[in-house]
């Protein structure tokens, strides 16, 4: 045993003696990392059995119309083709929708976007299915189409769905904004726009269905297996228990895999499996995925904001329009989260917000990391920068005067409690970036290369809150060989969250994570645990895991006490041993405790269930406590801009997040790094472009995401820990928040470097150049 390991074990035992937390807060090796570095066959496409046939989806070529005729003959007669599935082949309901029943699996007769799936070709090989699908001809009667959500809202606009073009509306009424504006010395009105972003999980959406007696087994890449089970069962007209869904190791998700696309691929594969009595693989390629899955909503957000001359916010009125494309999907909740975050991390005494989730004939949008946060925070943090400049107050100073601290009230009038760690986050990034010195120095720059700093602050509501009951069940079983098996309907798709909930059980039982194994989420074994969204696994699942492990611990302590010949209350457990607190040299091994417990017939299985407390709010005024706790954060980026060309790069980033308690700090940093870089992509380069409803860049050659060459040379990260009331050991969520801030921080940094306000994301070099040219152009007299 190396000295380092021996020291670690000593410190663990010392902690256990005092009853302190074990493992929590330590960098642990994730339970699933070995299979990943070995390249083991664990993803859906690696599990395709011999004899599998392939489904290729085909989609609409027009943005709005009715199908007049589908010519399938050329595809059906293509060598190797088993058949073509269309709406006529659906056994149950032709529906593939997450919340509102507004979307069909195979569109018929109305198509509302070019991403609408019309059917699938089933063939012996994927090339045959793909070639055959290209032979399908569809004739349409065209209908007028709308691509701009503000047009959709206008009276007299064509109706995209029978009930109209508004899928969801929401409002906030806090105080009286009209009175607030009359008391303001300065009022600014500006409109901000954001773009379609594609999540680009490196593994696109895929599903594999295998016929089983009287039903079907589905293996796929997804966030929410139980929801997929319900969706497939509906399409196949089967009782849910006849559809067994297993989540394979999932190669990235970021939101779209909690939306309807996993339903689409799994339902199609399952339909074909039942029809042709063969295993069927339905996998999207990159283009399919970028056309047919959900993207981040483009938003149009207008803010009218009033401040006093000494820089205190008085009132904010916002109008928020989200383009949900042809279908609502999880957008009905995205718009709610965006609205609750409309004034971000600031106290504004008077707030009025009206938001609209609007249908258009663009391809549809839905859940994507941040869930409305990136759009809302881009708008309000841009507005804050404009206000500071107009007031002539340093942007940091202006933020410090208005930001939320314990005792202040956010947009919903929720009073911030002692768990608000925003000031600590700000302090970290201000010091790290050298903000105070640099912001003064950069005011006097000459020449074409200019530097600038940009700040953005974060409040991010934790828990599903307005989106429904927030619960999770975690099953913990101690096997006879001492291995601890953990299973849940909550899923892992890359963040390490499931290792986090296992780490919680590991801490309670005093057994290192290396003795744990993860069961694949399986609807036939694990209880429905709601969707795996909102970064909630460690917070909600962690509590369930803690509960289950505590119950097991309480059963094992008496066994250990007898083996140690001591009292129950004196037993401590650490690093796979139990010992007497008062006599730590006498130990008994975990495996021996487990052996003895099995001999005595102790129940070694337990399920923990946790539901977050209610988060009540008044729908009429958008007031209340829609979230149980908040994650806080601050980001400062530094840019260098070549004002002759508009080219710029982010040379430094300084990020601090208050995560309550970092269960696995290395994992937390991974989320901060990864989320920030994905957010820098959103800020600087990513835009899925629609032209007349057609996606023109559905590939990674024309849609750019950050490469290793695009990341800031300097990136300083800080974990702040101000415990929250909800998560285990005070943990708050972290997977989503880091993607929220880069949009505004980059935009503000470019503004401070050049004087150019780019109000529509992404902040491309072209926009920076055009902006500086316009500023330099002589004004007309």
């Amino acid at each position: 045993m190396s000295e380092q390991v021996s020291q670690l074990l000593d410190s663990l035992r010392a902690k256990a003696e005092k009853g302190e937390l074990l493992y929590i807060g330590e960098n642990v090796v994730r339970v699933d990392s070995l299979e990943k570095v070995l390249g083991s066959p664990v993803y859906t496409a690696d599990l395709i059995p011999k004899g599998t046939v392939y489904a290729k989806l085909f989609h609409s070529s027009i943005p709005h119309g009715t199908i007049k005729r589908m010519e399938l003959g050329g595809a059906k007669s293509y060598p190797g083709v088993l058949g073509v599935l269309t709406s006529k082949d659906i056994l149950g309901l032709n529906e593939s929708s997450a919340i509102l029943p507004d979307r069909q699996l195979f569109a018929d007769p109305v198509v509302r976007s070019t991403g609408d799936i019309l059917g699938a070709v089933i063939a012996e090989t994927l090339p045959a299915a793909t070639d055959a699908a290209a032979r399908i001809k569809v004739e349409y009667d065209l209908l007028p189409a709308i691509f701009d959500p503000t047009e959709s809202l206008k009276p007299g606009a064509i109706k995209i769905h029978p009930k109209g073009n508004i899928a969801r509306q929401m409002k906030i009424r806090k105080g009286n904004v009209d009175e607030g504006f009359s008391k303001s010395d300065i009022v600014i009105e500006k409109t901000y726009r954001t773009q379609f972003q594609d999540a680009v999980p490196l593994e696109p959406e895929v599903g594999l269905a295998i016929p089983e007696d009287g039903g079907v087994k589905v293996i796929g890449s997804m966030q929410s297996p139980h929801h997929t089970q319900a969706a497939v069962a509906k399409v196949l007209k089967l009782p849910p228990e006849k559809v067994r869904v297993i989540q394979a190791v999932t190669g990235g998700a970021f939101g779209p895999k909690s939306d309807e696309t996993p339903y689409d691929v799994c339902s199609t594969a399952a339909l074909a499996a039942v029809k042709f009595r063969r295993p069927v693989y339905c996998g999207m390629d990159r283009e399919d995925s970028m056309v047919m899955h959900t993207k981040r909503h483009p938003f149009v957000i207008s803010h009218k904001t009033g401040v006093t001359s000494d820089g205190m916010l008085v009132a904010d009125e916002s109008r928020i329009i989200g383009d949900t494309g042809a279908y609502a999907s999880l957008g009905v909740f995205v718009i709610v989260r965006a609205t609750f975050h409309t004034v971000g991390a600031y106290e504004v005494p008077n707030v009025k917000a009206d938001s609209f989730l609007v249908y258009t004939n663009n391809t549809y949008t839905g859940s994507l990391r941040g869930f409305g946060g990136p759009q809302a925070i881009f708008a309000i943090e841009s507005q804050m920068e404009e206000l500071a400049r107009k007031l002539g107050i340093d942007p940091l100073e202006f933020r410090l005067r208005n930001m939320l601290v314990p005792g202040k009230k956010n947009a919903t009038s929720a009073v911030m409690d002692a768990s608000c760690g925003l000031p600590q986050c700000v302090e970290k990034v201000v010091t790290s970036s050298g903000y105070r010195e640099k912001s003064v120095r950069y005011r006097n720059q000459t020449g074409s290369m200019r530097r600038g700093l940009g700040i953005a602050l974060l409040m991010h509501g934790n828990s599903l809150g307005p989106e429904g009951n927030d619960y999770g069940a975690v099953h913990v079983e101690i096997l006879s060989d001492g291995t601890i098996s953990v299973g849940s309907g909550l899923t892992e798709y890359g963040t390490g969250a499931i290792s986090g909930i296992m780490q919680v059980a590991s801490s309670v039982l005093g057994v290192p994570l290396s003795r744990f194994k993860l069961e694949r989420p399986d609807t036939s074994k694990h209880r429905e645990s709601g969707p795996t969204v909102a970064s909630r696994v460690v917070v909600i699942g962690g509590n369930a895991s803690k509960q289950a492990a505590e119950k097991l611990r309480n059963r094992l302590i008496p066994v250990a006490a007898q083996l140690l010949k001591t009292d129950d209350k004196d037993v401590a457990m650490a690093d796979g041993l139990a010992f007497d607190r008062h006599n730590p040299s006498v130990t008994v091994r975990w495996d021996d405790i487990v052996d003895e417990a099995y001999r005595r017939g102790v129940n070694m299985k337990e399920e923990g269930f946790f539901m977050a407390p209610a988060a009540p709010w008044d729908q009429e005024v958008g007031q209340g406590t829609p979230y149980v706790q908040y994650t806080w954060g601050a980001l400062i980026v530094e840019v260098e801009v070549d004002t002759d060309t508009g080219y710029y790069k982010v040379v430094g980033a300084h990020a601090a997040y208050d995560v309550g308690k970092a269960v696995n700090p290395g994992g937390v940093l991974g989320q901060i790094y990864g989320g920030t870089v994905q957010g820098l992509g959103y800020a600087m380069m990513e835009e899925l472009v629609h032209k007349d409803g057609v996606v023109v860049n559905p590939n990674l050659g024309d849609y750019y995401i950050p490469t290793s060459m695009d990341i800031p040379q300097e990136f300083k990260t800080f974990i702040v820990e101000v415990p929250g009331p909800l998560g285990p050991f005070g943990a708050k969520i972290i997977a989503e928040p880091p993607i929220v801030l880069p949009g505004a921080a980059v935009r503000n940094a470019v503004l401070n470097a050049t004087g150019v306000s780019v109000d529509d994301l992404p902040v491309t070099s072209e926009k920076v150049l055009m902006g500086s040219r316009l500023k330099q152009a002589p004004m007309a007299p």
């Binding site: 990392s33 070995l34 990943k36 999980p201 998700a253 890359g494 963040t495 990864g674 990674l700």
Partner: protein
């Protein structure tokens, strides 16, 4: 039209019957069962299908199997006992460099290739070495840390 070629994959000759249009990735994954080779875009943009052909890192979705007749192909599976690869894999695990894991085998191939040429690369050299491979989870920082560590003491 089928044609019999010989691929030397991970040190073993495999006489293989391939279609003229069959890609290297298909032969590796489907015929030889080497599932570490991932497909992310099919257009050579994401790089997660990267393997070594005659010691050179290539996208196996852009190369036809027939082009590899008589050539040496190396994947992560073939380096399971290689000390440099093992150190690199250990370093990826320790530094949390694998999140969803879908780019990990390609990242490891690029990193192993770098480690053969450099035992103490700079950040920039590492960034260039992995620049052809996209990762959507990590923001690359923990991968870069891992490569630094994995390169140390690598056999030249």
């Amino acid at each position: 039209m089928k044609r019999v070629i010989t691929l030397n994959v991970n040190g073993t000759d495999h006489p293989t019957s391939v279609d003229a249009s069959q890609r290297l990735i298909d032969v590796l994954r489907d015929d030889l069962g080497l599932k570490s080779v991932k497909e992310g875009c099919s257009t050579g943009d994401c790089g997660i299908c990267a393997v070594l052909v005659d010691g050179k890192l290539v996208n196996s979705c852009l190369m036809l199997a027939a082009q590899c007749d008589g050539r040496r192909v190396t994947t992560v599976e073939g380096l399971a006992d290689d000390p440099t690869m093992k150190r690199m894999q250990g370093s990826f695990i320790e530094n949390n460099a694998a999140q969803c894991g879908f780019c990990t085998p390609a990242m490891l191939m690029a990193s192993w290739d770098l480690a053969r040429h450099s035992t103490d690369p700079t950040n920039e050299e590492i960034q260039v070495a992995i620049s052809g491979i996209l990762c959507r989870c990590t923001g690359y920082y923990q991968i870069i840390d891992s490569v630094h560590e994995g390169c140390k003491g690598a056999r030249r």
